[in-house]
């Protein structure tokens, strides 16, 4: 066990720290990851990712041929840590970088990688995920959006739902049914679809927060070149699971959680309750400490998983545990903030008396969405029990 950085790593850390100090954009008063609706925010988000990429700090572990640096995981870890420290904004192209990118590196064709990976890094092309359908949520494999192979093209018909970022995404990675007669897991394929294709309609869905962060996406005779198939025909479920694994890792990341904890502690010091700072109240102190301990647990757990990765060990169900624990924790942090704020808690964005720009109640709602998205907490528990503990599987239709 060694938790210290080598001299080279420390030098790199200083370099990143210096770069961030010079280059951080002005903080937005209202800032949530994965939730872009205002075109100016989208432009700013793309510019920020591009800047980070040009500095060499995005997806550093990707192979050089596709715009990465083939760097070891440590360097990316250092960048992530430094970004947490200064509460830097997140990446707008996160779903490309963390979900479809790694999937293409593992399962894509050479042509797909060369075509799609570089613009993911530069934020020139933003991706969204076409998984859930109105009739297929937790039972994802029952999905019905069809893709019929006609010559060199698929013709796609159907509907996706809860599609975050579809309103400005350039591409969608999509699960479609290519064999309606096969058992449900064996008739699915994984397609990359250009969002500008004729026949695609995006209709915004307003979330509980009041933002239109996700959408319905309709496909009506959408033509997709066969070359956009990832993996084999009808072999999409395997690929989908690879992406789901990356999604759990993304949602289970503590990067943002650590930032939110710092914000919560600042709030508790600044906001008065019963004539003293909330942070002086013994019950609040204990609650904050408990949250801090849970954050620390997941931060250290990420180091343990990082070490396992570096040692080439299979992560098992660790990603499901992280997704389950971290999304619940994010929600609990926001709830603690609301409780500390008392009557100030429910004040909406834009209210002049709202603290921290009224972001806490929005965060409280937004984080509940992340408990449900990417496989609900209940689905993660099924995975942990059945794959991790080998408890008897549920009978499934």
């Amino acid at each position: 066990m060694d938790l210290s950085y080598s001299p080279e790593e420390r030098a790199f850390q200083r370099e990143v720290r210096g770069w961030l100090a010079r280059s951080m954009p002005k903080r937005e008063p209202d800032e949530r990851p994965l939730d872009f609706h205002d075109p100016r925010r989208i432009a700013r988000g793309k510019a920020w990712q591009r800047k980070l990429y040009e500095a060499g700090y995005v997806a550093m572990g990707w192979p050089r041929d596709y715009g990465g640096q083939g760097a070891d995981v440590m360097r990316q870890t250092i960048v992530n840590e430094e970004m947490v420290r200064v509460r830097a904004p997140g990446l707008i192209g996160l779903m490309g970088i963390q979900m479809v990118g790694p999937t293409l590196i593992a399962h894509g064709t050479e042509e797909q990688r060369r075509r799609h990976l570089p613009p993911i890094l530069t934020a020139e092309e933003i991706w969204c995920q076409g998984y859930s359908e109105p009739g297929s949520g937790s039972d994802l494999a029952s999905l019905r959006t069809s893709a019929e192979l006609r010559g060199d093209e698929f013709v796609v018909n159907g509907q996706k739902v809860w599609t975050s970022n579809a309103q400005f995404a350039d591409w969608i990675f999509c699960l479609v049914r290519t064999d309606p007669d096969a058992p449900k897991h064996r008739g699915i394929s994984y397609l990359l679809i250009d969002m500008k294709s004729p026949g695609i309609t995006v209709r915004p869905l307003v979330q509980m927060t009041g933002d239109a962060g996700f959408n319905e996406v309709f496909f009506e005779d959408v033509h997709v070149p066969r070359a956009n198939l990832v993996g084999g025909l009808n072999d999409g479920w395997t690929i989908a699971n690879a992406t789901l694994f990356h999604e759990r890792n993304m949602l289970g990341s503590t990067t943002r959680t650590q930032q939110v904890l710092q914000g919560l502690l600042s709030l508790a010091r600044a906001h008065g309750r019963a004539g003293r700072p909330a942070s002086a109240d013994p019950a609040i102190r204990r609650r904050l400490a408990d949250l801090a301990i849970r954050v620390e647990t997941m931060k250290l757990e990420a180091y343990r998983q990082l070490t396992d990765t570096l040692r080439g060990r299979s992560p098992g169900i660790a990603a499901s545990v992280s997704k389950l624990v971290t999304t619940e924790l994010n929600h609990d942090l926001a709830e603690a903030a609301l409780d500390i704020l008392g009557s100030y808690g429910p004040l909406a964005r834009g209210n002049r008396r709202a603290r921290d720009g009224g972001t806490w109640p929005v965060d409280f709602m937004f984080t509940l969405g992340l408990i449900i998205g990417g496989g609900t907490s209940q689905i993660q528990k099924n995975i942990i029990a059945e794959r991790g503990l080998a408890m008897p599987r549920e009978l499934r239709a």
Binding site: M1, R286, A289, I293, L306, A385
Partner: protein, 378 residues
């Protein structure tokens, strides 16, 4: 390069300890030991001595194995897994005190006996106030011509019934602050020393009251500087906290494993109860708490040796979390067993009850949360 994992040697130690204890410390031994007055399973401890465990974290120059606190934590985790009885952790604390602050003469008198299992140690610091801070140390140590005279009572003294040597925290200067706390080595056979075992619900551990009535000690019984004992005591309490956290991790893993195992064999409604989501989700929640908590134990043990500015914080974080996690896991494990889990005959209550003592030993979760809040300047 960050390497937050066990080395090959550490994994080998862990495996060896697990296999050894599975064979040598079955629940039947835990139950038998509960009937003995001193609570020390002598045959088991003789074998642990042979393995060098008493001196695991003692420098080789002082006849130990020269390993670190992480290695000690790995062994404690395995001891917790089998709910091992006996004064292992308490003796480790007294050994650590001697190694860190003992004079040559003190070490010569006691270290050999403690390492060879001919004597066991116990740390006596709590009193009626049940405070884990300097204000909790009220027992007076008066200066006499040749040394000190101690009068008063220590309560909740872990492993007192089987101990031969007590490390006693006393006040050499009136007040309630850290200054004025001193530590004394008190042999059990000293005149005026009385040990009265306390009954607790935990069958796997022993605690007792230590009464000192005009106990006369030579000046050489003082361990470390006069009035300056708090710093060492705090370090020992942190080591105790890390040790109990490690024990709790092992215990929680065991309780979880027992519950999962049972759910795969017991049938109701014509199917294995482990196929019901109600139980699956309970088990998954246990995993989601227990697995990541391992990182806290590792880090606290690592920090104890390598991160002097962070070790107190890390110990509090680990102790607070594992205190909660072990108690919750054991409780859920009983529930997953249904009626059989509530019986005296089934072994699960050994862990369920140990979890209650682990929760309070060396400071309960609230104590450590408040300590963290203070360290982090909330």
């Amino acid at each position: 390069m960050i390497d937050f994992g066990l080395s090959d040697d550490q994994q080998a130690l862990q495996r060896a300890a697990r296999e050894f204890l599975a064979a040598e410390c079955p629940p039947s031994l835990v139950r038998d030991t509960a009937k003995q007055p001193d609570g020390v399973p002598r045959a088991l401890y003789a074998k642990m001595v042979e393995l060098g465990w008493m001196g695991l974290a003692v420098p080789e120059a002082q006849n130990g194995l020269g390993l670190d606190t992480l290695a000690l934590a790995l062994v404690l985790e395995e001891l917790g897994r089998v709910a091992a009885p006996g004064p292992f952790l308490s003796t480790q604390l007294v050994i650590a005190a001697l190694v860190r602050a003992g004079t040559v003469a003190q070490r010569r008198e006691w270290l050999g006996r403690l390492l060879s299992g001919h004597a066991f140690g116990s740390l006596a610091y709590l009193e009626e106030s049940d405070r884990h801070d300097p204000a909790g140390i009220a027992l007076r140590a008066r200066r006499t011509r040749g040394g000190y005279a101690l009068t008063g009572s220590k309560l909740f003294v872990l492993d007192a019934p089987g101990a031969d040597l007590f490390l006693v925290a006393a006040r050499t200067r009136p007040g309630s602050g850290a200054a004025g706390v001193s530590l004394f080595l008190v042999a059990r056979e000293t005149a005026g020393v009385r040990v009265r075992p306390e009954e607790t619900i935990d069958l796997t551990r022993r605690v007792g009251e230590l009464t000192l009535r005009d106990v006369t000690l030579p000046a050489t019984a003082l361990l470390g500087g006069e009035d300056k004992g708090w710093r060492l005591l705090e370090r020992l309490l942190d080591l105790g906290a890390v040790g109990i956290a490690a024990d709790s991790l092992g215990g929680a893993e065991r309780a979880l494993a027992m519950a999962v195992e049972y759910s795969k064999t017991r049938e109701q409604f014509g199917r294995k109860i482990g196929s019901f989501q109600a139980l699956k989700h309970m088990a998954a929640e246990m995993v989601a708490e227990v697995e990541p908590a391992r990182s806290l134990v590792w880090y606290a043990a690592y920090a104890f040796d390598h991160r002097p500015r962070e070790h107190a914080r890390a110990a509090s974080v680990a102790k607070a979390r594992l205190g909660d996690v072990y108690a919750r896991t054991a409780r859920r494990a009983v529930e997953m067993h249904g009626g059989i889990g509530f019986t005296w005959e089934h072994d699960l209550h050994l862990w369920f009850k140990r979890a209650r003592w682990n929760r309070v030993a060396f400071g309960d979760p609230d104590h450590h949360r408040e300590r963290l809040a203070t360290i982090d300047r909330y």
